[in-house]
C-alpha cells in the first residue's frame, strides 16, 4: 500500500509538474511574444523605408510584362489593319443605288517628292466602278506649280433620269448607263495658300447605254431624243477650261467662319457631233457665320451652273447639270432634276452637341432652267431636313442627313476619312 501510495503521490506530483510546465510555457510564450515576433518576424518593417521596400520586393516577385488589356490589344490590332490597309470602305455616293463602296488607292512618290503617282480603284455593291492612274510633278518651279496627267475609266450602270427640266415627273423614273474613259492633263498654280488656279484639258470617251436596274425602265424606252438629247447618238469630247478658287475659311473640312469662292469655265467640244458642243460656267460661294463662340454656325451655300451654245446646239442629257443629292436638294432622289442650267441655295444651321458631334437643320432651294437668261429663283424646288455630323481630328468623318420634300424623304450617309 505504501508503495502504491508513494507511487500515487509520485504520479500526482508528476501530473502537477506537467500541468505547471504547460502553464509556464504558455505564459512564457505570451510574455515573450513581442520579442519572438521581433526576432522571428523579420518581415515586419521597422521603418517606413523598410515598409516601402518590402512592398516593392513583393511586387518584384509578381512582376510580369505587359499591361494592355486583351480588348485594348485587339483594338490596337484592328486599328493597325485599318490604318495600314490600302483598302477603304465608304459610302461615297456614286449615284443612286451605287451604295456601299469598297476602294483602294496606292500612292507612290519618288525621293524628294519630285514625282508622285497613284493607282486607284473602287467598286460599289451595284457594280458601279472606277479605276484610274496618274502621275504628278507637284513642285515644278518651286512649290507653286504642279503638272498632272491622269487617266481613268468609270462605269455607272444605273444612273437615274426623270426627264429634263424643273417640271419633270418622279413617275418617269428611268435608268441608263454611262461609261467614261478620261485622259486629263492639268496644271495647277497656287500663288498663295488660300488661292489656287488651274487649267485642264480632258479627252473624254463617252458611252451611254441601257440601265441595268431591272426594276426600272431603261431611259431610251421612255424618252426620245427630244426629251433626252443625245440618247440616240453620243459623242466623245475634248474639254478644256480653267478655274480659280479662293478659300478664306478656317479649319479644313469643318469650316466655321470665312468665305469660299470658286469659279470655272469649260469648253465642251463634241468631236463627232458638233451640235452637242457647248460652254459652261460654274460658280459657287460658301459663307459661314459663326456665333456663340463658333459653336453655332449658319452655313450658306450658293451655286450656279450656266451653259450656253448656239441655237442649233444642245447639251446632251448625260452632261446636263443636276439637282438632287446629298449636297444639293436633299429631299429629292439623286439626279432628280436635269437641265442645261441650274441654281441652288442651301442654308444650314449647325449646333455643336459635343466636341465630336454636331447637329444640323437645313433648307435647300434650287431649280434647273433652259437658258442662262432665265436664271431666277421663281418656282424653286425646296427641301428641308436635319442632319448629324460626326467629327474626327481632321474634320467631319461621317455625315448623315435626312431630307424631306414634296416627293417624300431621302436618307443620305457619307463616310469621310475615319482613319
Amino acid at each position: 500500500m505504501a508503495k502504491l501510495h508513494v507511487a500515487a503521490v509520485s504520479r500526482k506530483k508528476t501530473i502537477r509538474n506537467q500541468n505547471f510546465t504547460k502553464s509556464f510555457l504558455i505564459v512564457l510564450i505570451f510574455l515573450l511574444a513581442p520579442e519572438l515576433m521581433a526576432q522571428n518576424g523579420s518581415n515586419e518593417p521597422a521603418t517606413r523605408t523598410e515598409q516601402i521596400q518590402a512592398e516593392r520586393a513583393d511586387k518584384a516577385v509578381n512582376s510580369r510584362p505587359g499591361d494592355s488589356s486583351t480588348v485594348e490589344k485587339y483594338f490596337g490590332r484592328i486599328e493597325d489593319v485599318l490604318i495600314g490597309s490600302p483598302i477603304r470602305i465608304g459610302v461615297e455616293g456614286r449615284g443612286p443605288g451605287g451604295g456601299l463602296t469598297v476602294g483602294s488607292v496606292f500612292n507612290w512618290s519618288s525621293y524628294g517628292d519630285r514625282v508622285r503617282s497613284k493607282l486607284w480603284g473602287n467598286i460599289t455593291i451595284n457594280r458601279f466602278y472606277e479605276v484610274g492612274t496618274g502621275v504628278e510633278l507637284p513642285h515644278v518651279g518651286g512649290h507653286d506649280l504642279s503638272f498632272a496627267l491622269e487617266a481613268w475609266h468609270q462605269d455607272a450602270p444605273q444612273l437615274e433620269y426623270f426627264g429634263s427640266g424643273n417640271d419633270s415627273s418622279v413617275n418617269n423614273r428611268t435608268d441608263y448607263r454611262r461609261e467614261d474613259t478620261v485622259l486629263e492633263f492639268r496644271v495647277r498654280f497656287s500663288p498663295h495658300r488660300r488661292v489656287t488656279s488651274s487649267c485642264a484639258l480632258q479627252q473624254v470617251w463617252l458611252n451611254v447605254g441601257p440601265g441595268t436596274n431591272g426594276n426600272l425602265p431603261s431611259t431610251e424606252q421612255v424618252f426620245g431624243p427630244l426629251e433626252a438629247p443625245g440618247i440616240d447618238v453620243q459623242s466623245n469630247y475634248l474639254i478644256g477650261g480653267c478655274a480659280a478658287q479662293f478659300d478664306g475659311t478656317e479649319y479644313y473640312n469643318d469650316p466655321h467662319t470665312g468665305t469660299y469662292a470658286a469659279a470655272g469655265y469649260d469648253r465642251y467640244h463634241a468631236e463627232e457631233h458638233d451640235r452637242f458642243s457647248f460652254n459652261r460656267f460654274d460658280a459657287a460661294v460658301e459663307h459661314y457665320i459663326p456665333f456663340f463662340n463658333d459653336k453655332r454656325v449658319i452655313a450658306l451655300f450658293g451655286r450656279t451652273v450656266l451653259s450656253w451654245h448656239s441655237r442649233d446646239q444642245v447639251v446632251p442629257f448625260y452632261l446636263q447639270t443636276t439637282l438632287g443629292s446629298d449636297r444639293t436638294l436633299r429631299g429629292f432622289r439623286r439626279y432628280r432634276f436635269y437641265g442645261e442650267n441650274s441654281i441652288l441655295f442651301n442654308a444650314e444651321y449647325r449646333w455643336q452637341v459635343n466636341t465630336g458631334f454636331d447637329m444640323a437643320l437645313f433648307g435647300d432651294s434650287g431649280r434647273v432652267f433652259n437658258k442662262p437668261g432665265e436664271i431666277s429663283l421663281s418656282n424653286p424646288q425646296t427641301s428641308a431636313g436635319f442632319g448629324l455630323r460626326f467629327k474626327g481630328q481632321k474634320g467631319v468623318a461621317v455625315r448623315f442627313d435626312i431630307g424631306f420634300s414634296r416627293e417624300g424623304g431621302q436618307i443620305w450617309l457619307r463616310f469621310g476619312n475615319l482613319y
Binding site: 510564450i29 511574444a33 519572438l36 515576433m37 518576424g41 515586419e44 518593417p45 521597422a46 521603418t47 517606413r48 523605408t49 515598409q51 516601402i52 521596400q53 516593392r56 520586393a57 511586387k59 518584384a60 512582376s63 510580369r64 510584362p65 505587359g66 499591361d67 494592355s68 480588348v71 485594348e72 483594338f75 490596337g76 486599328e79 490604318i83 495600314g84 490600302p86 500612292n107 512618290s109 525621293y111 524628294g112 517628292d113 519630285r114 513642285h139 512649290h143 495658300r193 478656317e250 456663340f292 463662340n293 463658333d294 459653336k295 453655332r296 444651321y349 449646333w351 455643336q352 452637341v353 459635343n354 466636341t355 465630336g356 458631334f357 447637329m359 437643320l361 481630328q393 481632321k394 482613319y419
Partner: protein, 524 residues
C-alpha cells in the same frame, strides 16, 4: 502552438504603428532594379473611349504615395521644387536644363506630316536629339509659347518634363540626314527629301524676316518604354506599387492642369524612360507635349468648351442638347472672349477651379479628394507674380501685351485656385513647435482669402500602436501641455485644431525627440 503563432501574427499585424521612426519621409527609398521592361502601348482611341464612359467622380479613397504630413516625397514621379524651396528667377527659367540650347546647324533625322500638327526630329551640332514643332500659320507663337511655358511651370512644380525652348531659325539653319525618313498618312513612310523639309517649314508661321519659330524639346534621357496610365500600376515595374489614380502627385496634376489650362492630360502625353544609375535601372516618369496648354489647342486656339466640358457628354446631356436645337447655350458659349492669334483662348473670368475639365475623363483627376486639391493649391500659391512673369517670359511672346495678358490671367487663375481649394479643408500648414508652442500658418489668411479666425486646440496623448487618443484635460491652447513637456522621448501627442467659425478641423501629431518636439503627421 500553431494556432497561437497565428494569433500572434494577427495581433502583431494589428499593432503596426501609425508612425515609423523615419516618418515623415521626404524622399522615397532608392528604386530597385527594373530589369528590361517591355514597351507599353496605350491606344489613343481606346483610351479615349474607355475613359469617356466614366465621367463621374470615382469612389472615395484616400491618396497614397504621400508622407505622414500629406506631402509627396521626392521620387521618380515628382521632386519637390518651388513649393519646398523657392527657385530663383534663373532656375525657374532654365527648367530641367541644360542651360545651353540647341546649337546650329540642325540635322533633321526624321519628319512627320501626318496627324494634327507637323513636326520633325533633329540633332544639333553637339549630337543632342530634339523634337521640334512649329506654330500653325495664322497663329504665331500660339503653340510654341504654350508648350514651353507649361513645361517650365510643371517642372518648377516638381514633375519631370523635357527641356523645351523656343528657337527661331531659317531654312538655311537646317540640314537633312541621308538616312532621314518621313512618316506619312496611313502608316506609310519614305526617305525624307529637302522638299519635305521645305514643306514642313512652309506649314509654319513665318516672321517678316523669314524666320520661323519651333519649340525644341530635348529628348529625355533613357530607354523609352511607352507612356504611363493614369490608373493602375505598371505590372513590370517593382517600384510602381501605388495605383496611379491614388497617387497624390497625379491627382494634384488636375489643379496644375486647370491652372495652366492644359486640357490634353492623357496617357498619350506621358513617357516612361528607363534610366541607369550605378548599374541600377529604374523607370522615370515624364509629362510631355504641352501644345494644348494655355489658350492653344495645338494647331489652333482653344474652343470655347475646352476646360468646361469633356469631349463626350453624358447621354442625358447629349439628348438635351439635341432636343433644344442649340438654343440653350452654355455660359462659355455666350461669353465674350478675347481670342488673340498668339495667345488663343485663355481667360480667368469663367474659370472655375473645381469644375475645370480635361479633354476627356482622367481617372486620377476623378479620384481626387479635397486634401489632394489642397496639396496642389499650396504648390500653385507658391508662385508669386514675379515667378509667373519669369516663367511666361520663356514663351518669348513678341507682343508685350500678350505676355502681360498671360501673366495677369495666370495670376488670377492662381488666386481662384487658392481661394477655392483652401476653403474646402482647414488650410493650416507649416506646423512647427517653437518654445513649447505649436505654431502654424493659416494659408487662407496668409494669402488674403479670409480674415484671421479663432481656433480651439485640444491636446491628446497618442498611442502609436493602438492608435488611440486620450484627451489631456485642461489643454486648450497651442501651448504644449505640461504632461507633454515632461514626457519621455518617443512619446506621441496629437492636437485637434478646430476653426471656430466653420468648425473645420484637423489633427497634428508630434513626437518627443530628445528635448524637442517634431511634427510628424497631419490628418486633414
Amino acid at each position: 502552438m500553431l494556432a497561437l503563432a497565428g494569433m500572434f501574427q494577427a495581433s502583431s499585424a494589428g499593432r503596426a504603428p501609425k508612425f515609423y521612426p523615419d516618418d515623415p519621409i521626404q524622399t522615397m527609398p532608392p528604386p530597385v532594379d527594373v530589369g528590361q521592361p517591355l514597351v507599353q502601348k496605350v491606344n489613343r482611341v481606346y483610351d479615349f473611349m474607355k475613359q469617356s464612359r466614366h465621367s463621374d467622380p470615382r469612389p472615395l479613397a484616400p491618396a497614397e504615395a504621400i508622407n505622414t504630413l500629406g506631402d509627396v516625397p521626392d521620387s521618380e514621379w515628382f521632386t519637390n521644387r518651388h513649393g519646398l524651396r523657392r527657385m530663383n528667377r534663373a532656375e525657374l527659367q532654365l527648367g530641367p536644363g541644360p542651360a545651353e540650347g540647341p546649337q546650329p546647324p540642325f540635322t533633321i533625322i526624321s519628319g512627320k506630316s501626318e496627324g494634327v500638327s507637323d513636326g520633325f526630329r533633329f540633332e544639333d551640332s553637339k549630337g543632342r536629339s530634339y523634337f521640334a514643332k512649329v506654330d500653325p500659320i495664322g497663329f504665331p507663337e500660339l503653340a510654341t509659347a504654350a508648350d514651353v511655358i507649361a513645361s517650365k511651370f510643371l517642372y518648377a512644380v516638381g514633375y519631370n518634363t523635357p527641356q523645351n525652348e523656343i528657337v527661331c531659325l531659317k531654312l538655311s539653319d537646317l540640314r537633312l540626314s541621308d538616312s532621314a525618313k518621313i512618316s506619312l498618312s496611313r502608316g506609310r513612310s519614305r526617305k525624307m527629301a529637302w522638299n519635305d523639309v521645305k514643306e514642313l517649314a512652309e506649314d509654319a508661321h513665318h516672321y517678316s524676316d523669314g524666320t520661323f519659330r519651333i519649340v525644341a524639346s530635348l529628348a529625355v534621357e533613357g530607354e523609352y518604354v511607352g507612356p504611363f496610365r493614369y490608373e493602375g500600376t505598371r505590372s513590370d515595374d517593382p517600384n510602381d506599387i501605388t495605383p496611379h489614380e491614388k497617387r497624390r502627385d497625379l491627382r494634384g496634376l488636375y489643379v496644375f492642369s486647370a491652372w495652366l489650362n492644359n486640357t490634353d492630360t492623357r496617357a498619350g502625353n506621358t513617357l516612361d524612360a528607363v534610366v541607369e544609375r550605378n548599374g541600377n535601372r529604374f523607370i522615370r516618369h515624364y509629362l510631355i507635349d504641352f501644345g494644348s496648354a494655355l489658350g492653344s489647342h495645338g494647331n489652333r486656339p482653344k474652343d470655347a468648351p475646352a476646360g468646361h466640358e469633356f469631349a463626350l457628354l453624358p447621354p442625358s446631356e447629349t439628348i438635351e442638347r439635341i432636343l433644344t436645337l442649340g438654343l440653350d447655350p452654355t455660359k462659355w458659349e455666350l461669353a465674350s472672349y478675347r481670342v488673340k492669334p498668339d495667345v488663343g483662348l485663355f481667360e480667368s473670368k469663367l474659370f472655375q477651379p473645381d469644375d475645370w475639365k480635361s479633354g476627356f475623363p482622367n481617372p486620377a483627376f476623378l479620384s481626387r479628394l479635397p486634401d489632394d486639391d489642397y496639396w496642389a493649391a499650396k504648390q500653385v500659391m507658391a508662385f508669386t507674380d514675379d515667378d509667373i512673369r519669369a516663367l511666361v517670359e520663356t514663351g518669348r511672346y513678341s507682343n508685350p501685351r500678350s505676355s502681360e495678358y498671360v501673366i495677369d490671367t495666370l495670376a488670377k487663375r492662381r488666386d481662384k485656385i487658392g481661394r477655392t481649394f483652401f476653403a474646402k479643408v482647414l488650410a493650416l500648414d507649416h506646423f512647427r513647435v517653437e518654445n513649447d508652442e505649436l505654431l502654424f500658418d493659416d494659408l487662407a489668411v496668409k494669402y488674403g482669402f479670409r480674415s484671421p479666425r479663432p481656433y480651439e486646440v485640444r491636446w491628446h496623448r497618442f498611442d502609436n500602436i493602438s492608435r488611440t487618443q486620450d484627451l489631456i484635460p485642461g489643454s486648450g491652447s497651442t501651448r504644449l501641455p505640461d504632461e507633454a513637456k515632461q514626457a519621455a522621448p518617443g512619446s506621441y501627442f496629437s492636437a485637434l485644431i478646430v476653426a471656430l467659425d466653420d468648425l473645420s478641423k484637423l489633427s497634428v501629431y508630434v513626437r518627443k525627440e530628445g528635448n524637442h518636439f517634431k511634427v510628424i503627421g497631419i490628418d486633414r
